[in-house]
């Protein structure tokens, strides 16, 4: 079937007849719309030459009749039927939800909503914190029955063992960077030897735990949120509740225990790897042999630094798991929510970890662990 398109009739002579020839379908809808727009109001649309019409073509003709007072001529039975169809379906529909107010008003409104949201999130987080404490208490009371060892051990593997590779590599490289940057700067004062102090103290006291927490938040916090969120969507969590299994006990507590127990272990491992990285750099660049490096490290790094690092680790682990599980449980509705909440879980976990780290820093300094 050849598409001959339409002829605009005798536009020049101004008889106002729009003759459609061939296919009046969606493929030529844009052209047809333009051509009808150019015609004067009260035009006559001649459909006698139409071979094939679809609803889009019918809509264009119907619209001209409705809005521009056009008359239709020569419509076959099929064509007239289709025109009637679209006429019946003419119910204007909004495409996107209504938005209230103008620019400034809306901005203020959005800001307000954002603040209320943040407040509610914090409130919800405290609630969830309480629920997990109750969950922990229930598990603690009857650990043989209520603690799901299988789940816990599986989480140990996922959160801890499987993170060894990436955290080890990252820590090693950070060690090299600290050693290199430290050496370059301290060399200006002829104090290269203090590179060892720098490596030892910054790693054990701060970076080992902090970088591990950031990595665990990215790896496991996001996974917790996505897993629980998806389970929420597929109604698995509702199913659990109705069977009488507490989702907090079955899902949240194993993840929290894994994060709390694995964080100090991973942090310690990260410290060691960073020190190895720094030590190798110091050996190669400054010519300080490993044995000397270790001896010097022992002299300049107080044991309290290690305690500070290791005390922070389980707290960070708890925060990461808490926020991850909390955001996962907030998922409602559709797949996009899972993405949004996973992002929120990671961002909030890292933010809270850094805030707490600052609090810890001030606290430990003021109790004299300098």
């Amino acid at each position: 079937m050849a598409t001959r398109g339409y002829r605009k009739g005798d536009e020049q002579s101004g008889d106002g007849i729009y003759r459609c020839v061939g296919n009046l379908t969606i493929s030529r809808a844009a052209t047809t719309e333009r051509e009808i727009d150019l015609m004067p109001d009260g035009m006559t649309i001649d459909l006698s030459g139409v071979e094939k019409m679809d609803t889009v073509g019918a809509w264009l003709v119907y619209r001209a009749v409705r809005d521009r007072g056009a008359r239709v001529e020569g419509a076959s039975e099929d064509v007239a039927g289709l025109l009637e169809q679209v006429k019946q379906a003419d119910k204007p529909v909004r495409v996107v939800p209504e938005q209230e107010g103008g620019g400034f008003k809306r901005t203020v409104g959005e800001l307000g909503e954002y603040i209320v949201d943040a407040g509610q999130t914090f409130h919800g987080l405290l609630n969830f914190f309480g629920a997990t404490l109750i969950g922990f208490w229930n598990v603690f009371k009857r650990p043989t029955q209520r603690l799901r060892w299988n789940a816990v051990v599986q989480r140990f593997d996922l959160v801890g063992v499987r993170a060894l590779g990436i955290i080890g590599l990252m820590s090693f490289l950070i060690g090299v960077v600290i050693g290199q940057q430290g050496a370059v700067q301290l060399r200006q004062f002829g104090a290269e030897i203090y590179t060892i102090n720098l490596i030892g103290r910054i790693t054990v006291r701060e970076l080992g735990t902090l970088m591990t927490a950031i990595m665990v938040a990215g790896r496991s916090g996001s996974a917790f949120a996505a897993q629980l969120g998806t389970m929420k969507l597929t109604e698995e969590i509702d199913a659990m509740r109705t069977i009488g299994v507490s989702p907090v006990e079955a899902l949240v507590i194993p993840r929290m225990m894994a994060a709390i127990i694995m964080m100090p272990l991973l942090s310690f491992y990260a410290m060691i790897m960073t020190i190895i990285g720094g030590g190798i750099y110091v050996w190669l660049d400054l010519g300080i042999p490993p044995l000397t490096f270790v001896q010097r490290l022992q002299e300049v790094t107080p044991l309290t630094d290690l305690w500070i690092g290791l005390i922070k680790a389980p707290v960070f682990g708890f925060i990461i798991a808490l926020v991850g599980c909390f955001q996962g449980m907030l998922v409602e509705g559709d797949a996009e929510q899972v993405g949004l909440k996973t992002t929120a879980a990671v961002v909030q976990a890292i933010f809270l970890v850094i805030v707490l780290d600052a609090v810890f820093a001030v606290f430990f300094s003021s109790v004299g662990w300098v």
Binding site: T55, V95, E336
Partner: protein, 265 residues
């Protein structure tokens, strides 16, 4: 008339499948279809039935190109579907609409925007015209106007199906694939949906390929029914013709208590 799944020589089919073979598993040992033949006539509503696991959905996926068969020929609207490149396939995809079992609406878009997706993909229309097209498609699918700006997560199950149907109809397809359209709907909603499909077929001159488990749907709207069993289409015909066969599955299906209830309705 026979109950052969293929049409007699000379009659033109909209969908024509010959010797289709689909198999899954690492060594392709799990054969779903073997030597499957089927023809779909222009303008008919063909119901496809079969027990769970007989590969109804796989058959549909093979026809629409989501699943590449091991061997066999699939022709849709006179074009072979096997071994097509993307551009050629696009020309055929324009001419069909598909309603997936769970709607498969894009969750980040509103219902109206969902309907506009195929329009945007294939044509350069003015935004006003696209909004209008979406509006009347939504009305044709039997949705109230306030459903347009809603997101899929805000819709009920029946409304999701209707919204999916509106999107399937967006390009005025010649061919409509429906995967269990009435599954999960209450009987009244299912009946309304049946009527909707029937009236759309008559109004818009559609050919409908319908997978269903719903005996009421089969009796109410299907012109012919294809029965999937023993890895192929064992029979295809009107329900009366199928009842005359003595295939055990067909007898059990149509003469079971549910089948008889649907027949009586």
């Amino acid at each position: 008339m026979s109950t052969s799944p293929t049409l007699p020589e000379g009659e033109k089919a909209v969908i024509c499948i010959r010797g289709l073979r689909n198999a899954f598993g690492e060594e392709r040992e799990q054969v779903i279809h073997e030597g499957l033949d089927l023809d779909v006539k222009r303008g008919e509503i063909l119901g496809v039935v079969g027990g769970s696991g007989t590969g109804k959905s796989v058959l549909m996926r093979s026809i629409i190109g989501l699943q590449t068969p091991e061997s066999g020929e699939v022709e849709v609207l006179g074009e072979s579907m096997i071994g097509r490149d993307e551009d050629e396939a696009k020309n055929i995809r324009r001419r069909w609409g598909i309603l997936f079992q769970n709607g498969a609406l894009f969750s980040t878009l509103t219902v109206a925007e969902n309907v506009e997706v195929p329009l945007r993909e294939y044509f350069h229309l003015t935004p006003k015209l696209m909004d209008e097209i979406a509006s009347y498609k939504i009305a044709m699918a039997g949705l109230p106007p306030d459903a347009g700006p809603k997101y899929p997560s805000e819709l009920s199950g029946g409304m999701v199906k209707r919204a999916g149907l509106a999107r399937a109809l967006a390009l005025d397809p010649e061919l409509l694939f429906l995967d269990e359209p009435t599954a999960g709907l209450d009987p009244i909603a299912a009946q309304n949906f049946d009527e909707l499909i029937l009236s759309l077929r008559d109004k818009l001159d559609l050919t409908v390929f319908l997978i269903t488990h719903d005996l009421d749907t089969l009796y109410a709207i299907c012109d012919r029914v294809a029965v999937l069993a023993d890895k192929k289409v064992v029979a295809c015909g009107t329900i009366e013709q199928l009842l005359a066969l003595d295939h055990p599955w067909i007898q059990e299906y149509f003469n079971g208590p549910r089948g008889r209830a649907a027949a009586a309705a």
